[in-house]
Symmetry: D4
Subunit: 249 residues, 8 copies
């Protein structure tokens, strides 16, 4: 139940279209559900506008399937990240209508039909081809949360004219997610060109002294362009979620 | 010249209230100015809505004064961060109406009279008393950029009821900046409660294995709450700037 | 032989129920036994209340089996941690009554029948589902050492109401072990609510800048809540052992 | 108000020795007090048995004095750590009966007259002479919290017979705090000898690759002796507080 | 004596313009000179084209003065880096014609009158104003080694049009030294635009997670632009020296 | 199209040997080509003298094959680094004349027939046998870019006479690439002997505290020999490219 | 040829028992041999008393076999470390009499029959069972170099009486190698008891914050016992070699 | 009392030249002395051949003076390292005949008159002039322990002929201490030339990525020359002590 659904419920009750028993049931439904190995936070959709997202990494396929089943059962939108094929197979046994996006490593169900009204465009940009997997996680996340999303891939600073030639896309976005590994310089260049929030996502792309993304992370945190904020290495989900919160308003 | 001022100028010209010569002068004014030791980016206000901000650290008082004078001369708003008393004294000799905020370590001039219309509240929260200096840099920055700002200080997780008792403030903000040192846990708790963007600012407050803020930085990057983004250690300015970009829309 | 058994033996001797030869044999039994590749410390049970615990990691199945056999032969309780299936199979060939707990990765034998009298409850809490494996190592360890153990899993700070709803459990424990990965914030919140010792266990759960548990470890070491102490990353055994020493008194 | 005081108050009320108005006032007294720069947690004594402890580092003398005055005004015990002479001078102006311990860098007031009944001995051990300052912070903390404390200084592993000659002290303690810098080996040796909880405190004593205490911290976290838990570098306060929580039971 | 001077000497001898005794003296002059605390390498000019350069840091003013005097006495060019005012004062007492450049922190003597023939331009670029001190060390070094040097300061990526407007300078250089702190992104952008060698110099300019230049260093090492090589943090001297070796050919 | 080809084209046009339509086509050909997952920079050959080099690591065989095909189709020289056998097989399906060098892990096509006129020798030196794979990447890169290359392998500092016996090779090179793992000392020794640019390549050869090449990288950055510059760990490609830019002039 | 063999050769020549041609052949034999991928240092036995030792890690079985064959062909003793079964199989094809020690991961041939006269005992001690593999590398190395070697395994500080009970062995050794992982405390305790050189070998045994042996390495470098020196993580070979150099005198 | 003195005492007693009471007094003298802040280990001279050495860093001048007085009172040789002028002044008030060596930062008393018989030469080598302070600490330590010491300063690898020209000194030493900062390459070169033990001492000399000596430390630990062992950064004392233990035999 989102905040909007709650408002609607209260209005329906006032107008007598919904019984007292019904609204009491709805309001006293448990705020979380204990599975022993997990305590599913059903209240999160009301509190934050989206139900609990499942981070599959570190969870067994069975555990993911159990949690996913409970979310789908309540007709809530499902988003599970860092899912392997095995996670997908286990979930599919428990619930229908689940989609597996291999590039983004996501499981989704009950996807929104259309972007929510009033939202601008979330633009997802990558420095290289190898950054696309992380970018796609951001794309799926932002779409699940009701946003329109566009992409601009492989426009890193070693051939900076590729970025400049697309300045229209940059200028018309409401929020920009910039995904880069190696030296992580692209967010600084983008951040110096636009006047909308830029979320930088370092990736583990690179070798040697890229240290699995630490170099890109540090570079982004030290950006000389103003107003850039950063999420964890390879955290496309976090960037997509933050972009959606920003785009909402 | 901001984008709005540019639009206005073009309209005035169309209506004949501004001469061709005047608009040509305005449009062909140099986009930057070279001082030898600095290349002042006068185009930034048009591109990003605010002129170049001066990071005083690493610059001599004379250098800061020269750059500040050029900004003030154009009646642009001035914001200089990490300013010492000596920077202030040098600027004061070159220009009038400059204010020094010792807690925030900022120099400002041509401050906006009122918050810009249509903006929500930027809420700045700290975990402890020692984090306030960084928080104040965020406060000054967000105010200079036209935002209404409220604060909630010293409500860290060791006495979490202090935060919960202020949930009204949390729920009514448009963007929340959470400033914390030591274990940097507060943004995760705040991020789990609200549905607006949260910008986390790690501070160098702590000792031993806090490593000058690295621990807080890492904790914030790894937050289990969705949608938190992070800026550099002690970077109150960056958080205030990002919050303003988010609040604008 | 534990201290209590030693006391009993001396009393029996005094009362003439045990021969001089018998007590001399007991007291002069070798304090350790050399297997070439290992020097088994048989004195530890007397000194510390529990025989040597075998860390299987880095030892071959054969080595573990040899050491385990010597412990079981003396009817001492056996605890082996970080055991793989192969370790289990090798031990099973050498000794009877050995149990393998796959989740906790432990081998046990001669388990205590009941918790020791006079002990309070050791409560083991996790932030997420992925932390459960480490938590179970703590559970098995504390039980082997004679403690009553309860658990509370997946109650991390992103949905903090899940924790608060269980405050009864928190308030009635004698020692609390808090297991968390990622930003490691849960021990600070728990530590701020209770007045019993809290042992924090960082886990390697997370990705990117969680650095295999370093972030959680650092966060816990820097906790702003008083009285929290920390063990090594993924060291459920150490936490269970320390909790037992605390609970003993 | 501690839990014991609360119980007493309720009994007095039941017996009619305390008016309804009085108990209502006591129970509805604000749980915290906002000073703008600080939110003093007056509820902590009830929740955790001791009022908020002030970490002076990072706070101005005036800020510390304001907070200390509020604690002393309520006749609560005061403990402020990492205090400089300037902090002391500022507090002394605001409140009477404050003591400054230069070695331990603590400010105290309303110290307990005697150790609490039923408590064992907290033993504080150091490896070297340079570790004593941190050890003394633990000593003062444990004493303020009502414990009997003994010390054993400069008995590091390079002359291990110094430690063994004091085994009586080791064996009769209820909790042992071991403070060491450099290679931090002493807790492992102590932990192998005793059957009570050992809290290890790494110190920043050393040079070169001691990295300000990181080496000692890491060594303690990796101790091969069972049941050792660790606090932050130079965190004598944390060790003293944890020892007191353990000793309480 | 440089290689060219050696060739000339041999030719003069062949033509009888120089006596046998003279050439023997020259060729048998000691290849180094021991001062007890230093072993001055007089052979280096012949081997590498420039005499030993003195790194003043870590040496006392007296030590620097002794070494400098021996170099000047042989009419060799003197270059001493990281010199303080005290080093300068000590050297001035021992030798004439020494110049102190406070911004570059260099001492020089016997400077070359003109750039060597056949050399192109060494262009030194900085991202910010605070990087200029390191850049000037590179400028002085390259000039002492006989190169023509031009500069382009404060053209960092946050206002990338400042760089593009100077593409003439970039395109006409023979070697480019790019000096940057913070996220160190500028060398990647420059390296993507030109087809001459680019030497990147990270500086310690920045704060928080810039870690005294480590972030810039790592970013430069991971540059996605081809053909960039990197020197130590703040090592303007090394960059100037390498640029001169490259420019020589 | 290289710069030389562009010059030729313009001259042909002036002389009337090339039609206006033809030159317009050439000059307006797209500067990059979007494949969705990649934005191939066709302008790079004109700007930097060599087309985009493909870093295979992190790209799927299909992606590499698509990009390679587009480069070969334009008769441009192909260089792909860190290629696996699978990358090779995929490329071979799309294009002819591709060579796979397993030691160097490179794919090449349209190799230059002869070294370019006027170039000196690029000498590639290794400290050990295990460094040869990285060295070969440098060799292939430099050859593809038109340079003459010689090698000197396994002449590390533990048997320094092996290096000195080859001083002829060292003295006659125009640029020297020194490849070393472990303590990375060889570039310092080479750099002290020669007067040409030395590019140091740290390798991940070693164990324990070599930290995958970090030790060699740091040693090279801190070389006491003047004029050494450094590339990323195992970055033979970068060293070969930089050497070629230097050798060009 | 060792120094002793050289002396003997010269004496034989003087006495006329060896022809001029023979001694010239011996003395002018090449000091190294180039295999393309390796430059075998045949002079090392004369210079350092033992021929080049082969580090197999990073070399192909074929490369190791080629080098080994050349050493064995000259009847020199062969020692190859970090050898896998595959290295062994390749060498066995090229040469006879090669032994593979799986625990120590060494290949040896032409082993000395007896320890050299006048040498004391090299004692190799380990803290745990998992450290034995590294210890065995030291044992094999020291034996190959002509030393008598004794061992004392699994006597770590958690049960320190195991060490003290063997003080005879400790006191009668000429050099002691102490091998330990985890907190690396054993060398400090041993170093405080004896008056002979102690060489500490950190191992990668441990988990979590042992960081693959970094913790043990740092602890050993910071030992408070005087006169301990340290080699690389898991470098049993280096310790055995250093012990032999010490024992020689 | 050293071991030799103990032997002599026992012989004297046997021959009746020393009374029973005297020898009982000597043998039962306390093995350590407690000063509250320090537990002076008087037994160390017997156990290790030299009394406790005082590390002044971290101790107050008064503490050092108290300990030093007790050592001098027993006519034992005094060595105190990392002493400041203030430590010296405090000791001088308590005891006579104390010498302060400012370069080495040592306090000494009761120095040995001559080197002990039968000892070879300890050679101390530095790479640069700035390493001399650490080297001098090693020199003073080795001399206090009865060794003959020679030095060879400023012969680093950038001018390697300076080292080779002194090969006589290298070849005639019994132990060599090599002190170097920056890239720490000198021990590898020395270690490849000699057949005696080499102790490497990294120093904190350098800047930027030398990280206060970490780079030199790591380089030395990874030396490709066999038989090098390493001590802590700037630990001249440890190197001198280890060299003396090696030289003793």
């Amino acid at each position: 139940m989102t905040k909007d659904e709650l408002k609607e419920l209260l209005r329906q009750f006032k107008r007598g279209r919904v019984s007292e028993q019904h609204i009491i049931n709805e309001l006293t439904a448990p705020r979380f559900e204990s599975l022993g190995f997990a305590t599913v936070d059903h209240h999160r959709q009301l509190r934050q506008g989206f139900p609990e997202v499942i981070l599959c990494q570190g969870k067994s396929p069975q555990q993911v399937a159990e949690i996913a089943a409970r979310i789908i059962r309540r007709s809530q939108p499902l988003l599970a990240t860092r899912a392997t094929k095995n996670h997908y197979l286990a979930v599919r046994k428990k619930a229908r209508g689940v989609h597996y996006n291999e590039a983004a490593r996501t499981l989704t169900a009950n996807e929104p039909k259309n972007p929510l009204r009033g939202r601008g465009v979330v633009l997802v940009v990558t420095a290289g081809t190898s950054d696309i997997s992380v970018a796609e996680e951001a794309v799926v996340t932002a779409r699940m949360l009701g946003n329109r999303v566009e992409t601009l891939y492989d426009v890193g600073v070693a051939g900076i004219h590729r970025l400049f030639s697309q300045s229209n896309k940059l200028m018309s976005a409401s929020v920009i997610i910039v995904v880069a590994g190696m030296e992580g310089a692209l967010p600084s260049v983008v951040g110096g060109l636009v006047d909308v929030p830029v979320i930088a996502v370092p990736t583990s792309v690179g070798y040697g002294a890229s240290f699995g993304g630490i170099t890109a992370l540090l570079a982004m945190l030290n950006s000389c362009a103003s107003g850039i904020s950063v999420v964890n290495i390879d955290n496309g989900f976090g960037a997509g979620f933050a972009a959606s919160l920003i785009n909402k308003k």
